[in-house]
Amino acid sequence: MNYKDLSEKLVQKCLRSGADAAEVYIETGRRLSVRILNSEVDTIQEAATAGVGIRVIVDNRLGFCHCNDFSSKALDDTINMAIAFAKLTSPDEFNILPSEEGMAEVNGLYDPSIIDVPMQQKIDMAKELESLALKDPRVSKSSGSGFGEGETEIFIANSNGLSKSYKSSACSVSVSVVAEKGDQKNTGGESCSRRYFNDLLPLTEIAAAASRKAYELIDPVMVKTQRASVVFDPDVARSLFGGVIQALNGDMVNQGASFLGNSLNEKFASELLTIYDDGTIERGMASRPFDGEGVPTSKRLLVEKGVARGFIYNSSAAARAGTISTGNASRGGFTSLPGISTHSVYLEPGKYLPNEIIAATDKGLLLKGVTGYGIDPVSGNFSGGATGFWIEKGEIKHPVKGLTIAGSASEILNGIDMMGNDIDMQRTFAAPTFRVREMQIGGI
């Protein structure tokens, strides 16, 4: 099926059926997943799917429908339904569709060769990854390994003449193992996702990380409830900065529901904190030439030396705020209206090696795992469960589990006093190791 033609034709059909403006979003794709357990295939899943989401505007009123049946009868019904909904809605002048032309230049989103790799090779890769992770004598069991791949093609057309499409691919390998000692159990997992098959990391490297995460927290020692430094590992950066990113969401700012809503161009965090959002990184897992409603993506500075420099918007939220879209419309697939989210987020690295940060810490927690929701974007509170290592006099003493950490966003973000230089730009949320001077740690 020629989906580009279809998307444009459906826009015209919406207009003929009574819409003042219309947008058609089609997503097609295929996926394959292989799960291995104890050197045997556990599951193989495969599918090819397609669906369409249709947004119409009638007298400033908005309607939306989605459907995964491409028969002309079903598509007609879907359009009529969307228009009928729109007629029932309250009018809103900010119901607009974008007209931005062009696409951001992003290289390396699609690897046509993934599908050509034989199935048996994919199965064997996952089996090998599992057996490599089980090699370490401290690891006792596997809880499974896997290989996954997918291809997606997006088509967007709207009545402002916008018509764009792009194709992307992804593949991943993952493994999870268990280390046991007496009654103690600990799991460790690692995965690697890339746009290109040949970019996947060596299996030995992935397996070693999973094994290490499983055994390194065996024999934890509990510490007392106290205030101490917390050194954040790159793995847990999202737990802290995820809430900051959510608080920069233009919808939340418009609704007065963000703790950073009144902080534009004001300092709210340590000078060491600079955050970028970038949809254009070559072969980036979160890169795309245009956002969920067709606006070109770009690289943007969100936080500069602790000062909030920009919120993120889709077209409607931007119109309400009196500005233009930042190319951050997101879609949860064809079944939803555009929301708002970032692409690849990364921090500007600092000057310290992770070991230098630990060596400079008199007493504190090297945080490796956090549970909970992170910073609450509405109130700015942070509270979660914590695992990692205890640091004393600049040295790692022992593993710790079952701790809690908590604080207010302002206290934590202003308390960042050392920024590492160990950033891995392959992550979609990339941060180096960094230290917060002092936080409340709950123990015994």
Partner: protein, 505 residues
């Protein structure tokens, strides 16, 4: 390891507060006609038994022990009011079918969103990849099976005029905003769906049914210039529109607004080990996570679950009895039969502290040589069925809830939790409190914010030392790589010595 989690509202609300835009979705009489026509024309559901038999035979042509076909049609609509405007909404039709083959411990699965005999045969062929080399297995003839239903509908969603849907949303919005001038914003999320499913298995079972579902969420945000709190209350049943007569939209809204105002004066939570009294109702998510997930049989069959090999053993306090029951009339977690066709039932998992059994699906029951318990569920045709909870609760005890509080000298009183997660292998869990208070000398005193509860499942169920007589439930969304509608319930309980995370000593 997949992190298992539960939340009280859809994830989208955490990350975006919003589908931007505004739709008032609801069926006018004209829309209703289309709705009915869409439903009437779902041809996939009418796929005849002869074709389904051929698909199953194809799935087992290379060998394998078991195969099934699952066909689904889901019609959903969602209306969201934010800032007193009907801002967004969705109307969706989703249909598709999946074919599964089990061969030994291996599972093959393929799905399609075009429900035609050709596509199903192709899916069967792909799914049979895992069964290479075996001799063909002859499936049993398909016969319509009988299953008891636990969902009754008095006012079918299809007969409800749009004005009624709009009215309940507006009533909730008005009630939240008029509760107190410090309520600055309300958000009302109305969702309903009708899910139709057809299940056909190589054991000869053929089933078809239709389940309605309503989910109504009111969030209220308070702001007094110093503090801000987003509170929420939910209501959800497999029910017709009569749900709003049993619990009114105003009641839902006022509960949310009450929490929003109460938490404005919250102080930082203390940190450290303390006694926790959990109010009856949704607090049951703690055992849903901490005990329920580790009792799902998939990780047990893999030999890695925290409760592996513990059937018949004492695992909890004498006061602790835990049940998973997919048959409670009209509850959000009620299923009639699971997505593999097994009749839903009441399963007592732990009785007076002794572990009686696990929750199984077809595969894990076969692997463990245990009965099927009716817990094989799936989010949609895009997912394989796996063991999942339904309505899970701590059975009521004998204590007066007021006495439980009065006899607790010092600790935290948890009135509502947002949600939490557990690692099913280690049994380590965490929970985020949304509304909590200090307990001082047997009384609920100051509200506290930012409290997290963490611990291990084995410890928590051994440390329950008081169970109230006031069992109640709350609706939620359980995540395990795919989502499931559940309820969690409990009477008021006291747990000694939980690690509470807070921002002051």
């Amino acid at each position: 390891m997949e992190k298992l989690n539960i939340r009280d509202i859809p994830r989208r609300k955490f990350i975006g507060l919003g589908l931007k835009g505004g739709v008032l979705v609801a069926a006018t009489p004209a829309l209703m006609t289309q709705l009915v026509s869409c439903r009437g024309k779902a041809p996939g559901l009418d796929m005849d038994k002869e074709t389904l038999s051929k698909v199953i035979a194809r799935a087992l042509a290379r060998g394998g022990d078991y195969a099934d076909v699952y066909i689904e049609n889901r019609i959903s609509r969602q209306i969201i009011m934010e800032e007193s405007k009907f801002r967004s909404g969705l109307y969706g039709i989703s249909q598709g079918a999946g074919v599964r083959v089990i061969a030994g411990n291996q599972t093959g699965y393929a799905y399609t969103d075009e429900i035609t005999p050709e596509k199903l045969m192709r899916a069967a062929e792909v799914a049979s990849y895992v069964a290479q080399g075996g001799g063909a297995h002859t499936p049993a003839d398909l016969t319509s099976a009988k299953r008891e239903s636990f969902v009754t509908v008095q006012k079918p969603l299809a007969d409800i005029a749009d004005e009624k849907r709009i009215e309940v949303i507006e009533r909730a919005n008005d009630a939240a905003l008029s509760y107190d001038p410090r309520i600055k914003m309300a958000m009302v999320d109305y969702y309903d769906q009708v899910r139709s499913r057809v299940i056909a298995t190589s054991e000869g079972v053929y089933l078809r049914d239709e389940l309605p579902l309503l989910f109504f969420i009111v969030q209220a945000m308070s702001d007094d210039g110093n503090a801000r709190h987003m509170a929420r209350e939910r209501l959800s049943y497999h029910s017709g529109f009569e749900m709003f007569e049993k619990v009114t939209p105003e009641q839902v809204a006022e509960n949310a607004a009450r929490e929003a105002i109460a938490m404005l004066s919250a102080e930082a939570s203390p940190a450290g080990i303390m006694d926790v009294v959990m109010q009856n109702g949704w607090g049951g998510v703690l055992v849903h996570e901490a005990v329920g997930h580790p009792l799902e049989a998939d990780n047990i069959a893999k030999g890695i679950g925290a409760f592996t090999g513990k059937v018949g053993k004492k695992v909890a306090s004498d006061l602790f009895t835990m049940v998973d029951d997919g048959t409670i009339p009209n509850f959000r977690g009620t299923i009639n039969f699971d997505d593999e066709g097994t009749q839903a039932r009441k399963n007592v998992l732990i009785e007076n502290g002794v572990l009686l059994g696990y929750m199984t699906d077809v595969l894990s029951a076969k692997q463990l040589g245990m009965e099927r318990t009716g817990n094989g569920r799936r989010e949609s045709f895009r997912y394989l069925p796996i063991p999942r909870m339904t309505n899970t609760y701590i059975e009521k005890g004998e204590s007066d809830p007021a006495d439980i509080l009065a006899s607790t000298r010092k600790g935290i009183y948890v009135q509502s939790l947002s949600g939490g997660s557990v690692n099913p292998v280690t049994g380590v869990f965490n929970f985020t409190c949304r509304e909590a208070y200090l307990i001082e000398n047997g009384k609920k005193t100051k509200p506290v914010r930012g409290a997290t509860l963490i611990g291990s499942c084995m410890d928590v169920i051994s440390n329950i030392d008081a169970v109230g007589n006031d069992l109640d439930f709350g609706p939620g969304i359980c995540g395990k790589g795919q989502s499931a509608e559940v309820t969690a319930g409990q009477p008021t309980v006291r747990i000694r010595g939980i690690n509470v995370g807070g921002s002051r000593a």
